[in-house]
Symmetry: C2
Subunit: 341 residues, 2 copies
DNA sequence: ATCAGTTAGTGTATCGGTTTCCAAGAAAAC
DNA sequence: GTTTTCTTGGAAACCGATACACTAACTGAT
């Protein structure tokens, strides 16, 4: 048997009071108890090593102090950082965390939302697949406490925490163009549902226009999940031999790009410069050290957890809003352009 | 309000049966129901979009179908992989996952275990800090369903999944010595509580003795958390200028080691060869490409979840056992010794 | 002495399921 | 035709907490 259970009734009996009294003391509601009674009860709790059953508590009180987080990808280290921010914040504020992974699969996403609801989590943080707009709308209409992270959804009443992806892409590509690159390609996983995809592409285009280029100068390399990326990239580079820089919107893609370039015996950054999304601890040790866009993942996690908990703790419901965090360009060798300091 | 609740009573009323009958059908206990009744009830469930309340269910049935996982570090990508294995397996088998992070802090660890117990999780997977032996013993004595991952604890009755760390270190150092390195240092975070620390050090020593060296040849570089690692490594290297290889037991340390070596303008692998723990997607793109020990993290997660669930699903309790997975040496440039193929 | 007001504490319904025990009718056995 | 068994289904207790309605005791004012 698993640790035979001590219930609130046992404590009450031992301390010679009612369950109500014990419950009040447990919940630090001291309205109807003397210091003396409290002492007695706390003693009994300690002696019996009593731990309240969170299931029973949640059932009656309609609050579980659990929040759910649904990510779409566990592999990407960016999410570890976000998760860390969420976890730390939850712990500080007395919440536990239930985690699941939609794997970009909208059916999974829907299934897990139901799961979270059955488990009566107090709210959810979700990196949406963006493929279930009706689901998001329904949840928001129902006033289900939810914070959308990293990506945007098409609903004005959502609470969200994102990084400015237009800006992230813009500062990356702008840096390349300012330092003389003319044929800058963008590499991205084809995923037109996802807002980050659209925004980073938008930032890429914006940088071109801001630097006197035209639409004709865009070079867009769309990769498809599951294929041999490196082969595709090599073919693409051979077809466009004038490319002198690549802005990569995704860590995994970046590594494939670097692999392809090395296979083709091209020099980074002399022949092809690279700026890549997502700073990691490896970035500065790559060959060559990688210029990256850093996203404040830990902060994103913190803010998301904080906003969510505000949502059901504050009496006056906060207005729907999306917090926008700032990306940052970390300049290293791979972009071939280090500003003088 | 959050989605107004449909209860089993509502379904019962709609289908003109008792709660008992609905409950039986929900739990696929068809002993007392005709196909006709089932049909009726399932219709009602669908129409009302009924979803059982997992809290109520768990309270009475003493089963939550939730398992807890406690890691000691979210940053290290090795754990993302493990987590992915656990998550996938849990989903397949119908379990949900509650996650927390002890951050190597034994008090946190104890706190979170209590938290998990209060929440009535069915069992836990834990990467122990190794600093709470009494806690582990107590849980095991109480028959608390628990699978220890990655590290070993001093208790014969534990269930565990680990990678062979003696072997991992052995094959790394053996490779260096076989290919002619004579002054091989090991770099590790000083953490004598943790079994992996001991085992990797043991493997290091074993490789020396197997290659005709003696204890006098050990060069042990112990780092302390929180200090400036790179500075310390540089001082160490200057003090031991004869070091011609480093076996690094930890990804983060490896990066510091590489940084230190580059700062000192030494060549990898010509002057100092490196073999490092934990293969990552970056390893082969580092400068130079890194020879690593790959640990099967995803498998570790799978096996752990599988074992844990076996523990409370199979009638005959499995015997305590620790599954040992095999590490693998991935040879690249940094060790300066690529076997001919 | 009476009444109102306050304080400390209790009894019990309740949350939403599961489970045990029992009943009624049909089928089978004698 | 009566008893036994099997099948289908329901009533009510229960899991372990919280919350509402209530009482008993005490204070103090009239």
């Amino acid at each position: 048997m698993i640790a035979l259970k001590v219930t609130i009734g046992d404590v009450a009996k031992k301390a010679n009071v009612s369950k109500t009294t014990v419950s009040r003391i447990l919940n630090e509601n001291y309205a109807h108890t003397t210091a003396e009674t409290r002492e007695k009860v706390l003693m009994a709790i300690k002696e019996l090593e009593y731990r309240p059953n969170a299931l029973a508590k949640g059932l009656k009180s309609m609050r579980t102090n659990v929040i759910g987080i649904m990510l779409s990808n566990l592999k990407n280290p960016f999410w570890s950082t976000v998760l860390e921010g969420v976890e730390d914040t939850c712990r500080e504020l007395g919440y536990n965390l239930m985690i699941c992974n939609s794997n970009e699969n909208p059916e999974m996403e829907e299934e897990f939302i139901k799961e979270f609801q059955m488990r009566q989590v107090d709210g959810v943080i979700i990196n949406p697949t963006c493929k279930n707009p009706d689901l998001y709308d329904k949840l928001i209409d129902q006033n289900y406490p939810m914070v959308i992270v990293n990506r945007r959804i098409q609903n004005e009443n959502a609470y969200g925490v994102v990084v400015d992806n237009v800006k992230g892409a813009y500062i990356a590509v702008n840096h390349l163009l300012k330092y003389g690159r003319k044929r800058v390609a963008v590499s991205l996983f084809k995923n037109p549902f996802v807002s980050t995809w659209k925004e980073r592409l938008e930032g890429y285009k914006k940088a071109f226009l801001a630097n006197g280029f035209t639409e004709a100068d865009y070079i867009i390399m769309e990769l498809e999940e599951g294929k041999d990326q490196k082969e595709y990239i090599k073919r693409f580079l051979r077809k466009h031999p004038d490319i002198d820089a690549i802005f990569s919107t995704n860590t995994m893609v970046t590594l494939e790009v670097i692999g392809a370039i090395k296979d083709m015996n091209l020099k980074i950054p002399e022949q092809i410069a690279i700026v890549s999304y997502d700073e990691t601890i490896w970035s500065k040790y790559l060959d060559p050290p990688l210029t990256t866009i850093r996203q404040p993942g830990y902060q994103m996690g913190q803010r998301a957890a904080q906003s969510l908990i505000d949502l059901f703790q504050s009496k006056s419901k906060p207005l729907p809003a999306t917090v926008v965090l700032e990306p940052e360009l970390i300049v290293r060798i791979s972009c071939g352009a280090i500003p003088k300091t």
